[in-house]
Amino acid sequence: MAEPRLVQLAVDGRRRSGLAEPRLLLADFLRHELGLTGVHVACEQGGCGACLIRLDGRLALSCLVLAVQADGAAVETAEGLARNGELHPIQQAFRTKHGLQCGFCTPGLLLATRALLEADARPDEPTIRRHLSGNVCRCTGYTGIVAAVQEAARLVGEAAG
């Protein structure tokens, strides 16, 4: 049962599959087996949020999920946010408000932001900061990120009419 087994899943809407021994982390499966570049590993203990994805509709730190657990699941990464090549309003907001510098924490932050805005369409600043407490950014000091999330809330709200 420690042998590699086939893992079949959907990633950003596409059917993908690969081999994984039980101990292979989902983060490593996505990056190294499937070649995705939108998932980053920075701590392997759930302490930084860089590896954040959505698994069957719920936020999940992919360094704390085994690839074999994702068999049959739907995984969404930040690579799936853009539609038809167009940046998602959250991505646009991060760009206009300088919410990223090196970009390493960014994919996780984008997904955390989407989850926040799905739960609370007009979060105030303390709510934004609290919700993002599991996403470490070393470059921005969070000022640009908070501005980006506020702008994203505005854009998403506008799009919803």
Partner: protein, 783 residues
Amino acid sequence: MSRRFRYVGRGLPRVEDDRLLRGRVSFLDDVRLPGMLHVAFVRSPLAHAELRRVDTAAAAQLDGVTAVVTGADLPGELEIVTGSSRPEAGEWRRPLLARDRVRYVGEPVAAVAACSRYVAEDACELVAVEYEPLEPVVDAERALEPDATLLHERHGSNNFAHVEFEHGDVDAAFARAAHVFRKRFHFGRTHAAPLEARGGAADWSGDLTFWSSTQMPFLVRSMIARLYRLPETGVRVIVPAVGGGFGLKVHLYVEEAILPFLSRLVAAPVKWAEDRYEHLAASGHSKEVLCDLELATTDDGSFLGLRGRFLGDGGAHQGHPWSSLIDPLCAAAMLPGVYEVDAVAYEVDAAATNKCPSTAYRGVGWTSGQAAREALIDDAARTLGLDPIELRLRNCLPDGEPSVSATGCRYDGGSYRASLRRIRELVDYEGFRERQLRLRGQGRFVGIGFSPFVEQGGWAAQIAADQGFPGSGYLDSVCVTVEPDGSVTLATGLQSNGQGHETTLAQIAADGLGVRPEDVRVVQGDTATGAYSTGSWGSRTAVIAGGSILRAADDVRAKLLEIAAAELEAAAGDLQVEDGLVSVRGSPDRALSVASVAAAAYAGRVPSGLEPSLTSTRSYDPPATYSNACIACVVEVDAETGRTTVERLVAVEDCGTVVNPLVVDGQVAGAVAQGVGAILYEGLPYDADGQFLAGSLGEFLYPTAPELPDVEVDHLATPSPVTEGGIKGMGEGGLIGAPAAVVNAVADALEPFGVAIDRTPLRPCDILALIDSASAAATPATP
């Protein structure tokens, strides 16, 4: 020369953002090469020990393992040799794997190459190592005592260098002083901790291709070539996107340097991607300096003289290439800061200890010296009964005029006083003091701290000499080429690790040439296509890129105008280029696109005698230039628990000519956040046995969003009179200044208790201990 800037100065959104946001960017751990093997290291669990035996037999036999290498397997000449341009310093050597001794917890002892990182780690566990413990040296002062155990016997001392300096009659200044204030301040060990840890890859078959998460691709190329005795033409360094550097990635590490050897050995590409434990324990530590300061003043607080002794805790080896002087010597060189003090003396030592080697981190030792000096000044203000801003203004350099500090730093003029006054307005200082008093009546303790400073920009030969490292040389060049269709390639060896160079350098080139930024493509991250540079660190990119790009652009623009002049039948001197259009001044209908001028050039249709290639490679070794800024921090301290909340962070920044204000504000905010982290959250403790205690993110605490307020950034502008474009450079300032502001804010909050702060970091328990041990000058009113 005065230039009119059209794009420099504008907050253009960044070119690099699109692909970063889409997640379509490769960082080091995304590098995949056919047949690639993965590397892991066996690391010492002890701080100091003789290495008796390393038995790799079981590890080598594990399924999936290709090679296991120890120090004994490496040729003797594979050593990194670190010296310094300082004559007082020695030359310290380090083999790529520990040979007969280990000197810090985490030091690499063996390297494994296997089919996956998972299997490589399994193999590491099977390597049997025999250690014979030695007495660890974990205190810098102890390390310099005559009977201390030597870390490197061949040097006869644990001190890398002892440096002394004096300017003016310091003894006389102290003799005539009405007051002498003293302070011993231990600035604690910090970590740049970029979110993306270190990593490298090597593929050595014929030529050597080397991937590195580095801020200095060409220096890495030169160093690797020298190490392996290869011609530089036989080495190519590729840098994928870099997930933060902050100075940590401006070094050559043994773990990267060994990768070409491993690749040769296993006849395959090899990759090493560091994990967080390795990063925290064994990459590079920074800024730990024990500062002993003395400030001589007149009766009314005018500064007469400064003395400082700066003892760096340099760790077990020299960080290459900057050495362990980078923290204490820089702290000493900036001892006078923004103040007019003519009599200054300092002593610097750089002790080796059984800890992780010290490396450069954003602001290096300026951070440590700044915190010590500004805390001392606040102590002095309290004793003299003077307002802390008033005391600073009284001693501050006048605005605008260039001056040379007592330590030889050539300031090119700034808004030293104006920034202090401005910050006083922005924080509503009087209102704050009223609020502070009111809250004290309710048993609540808020405090404010100020930190004005200068920040060097453009570290190259002149700044290095200012900072105590004379005689070093730097070459930084860029190549500007107009392509056949009028688009522009800007090749550089500078390396973005978050600062947006693809945008800012394009802005400068656009103004230099007269095209639009979107027509300029910045090429970086590859020594095969870049131009030689010592890299991006030390707030140097904008100044150095600025100068070199403008010079190269001038060359190319001159040619464009010559060619266009012939086509337009006008004098080149009557032509202007703007947004890709060359036109006769005053006759806008007589115009040619840069694209058509380029087409002409590439088709050879140029005036006879004119060399048609539209390219120029130019370098820039800037004169010394210094930005200045002032940072203020407001905190509230819970006096029952020591827990401290940062309420407000304000920065007034003057970096002369700004290239992109969005980028500048982002740099300030990020650096200030790191400053808060260094004081209130992050820590790198070692125990008495040299055991490292912060090996995970549960111990080393990055500040996260709820711990910080918005960083408010205000701007003044004193363009440099000596650099190209008046650009001064910035980036480190927030981390040079913010720690001092936080320390002073905490001390100010706890002033009723009579607290004096003499060390960092300040955990809640440390703050409570400070309250306990301080003799209260006045008891706080309690409800």
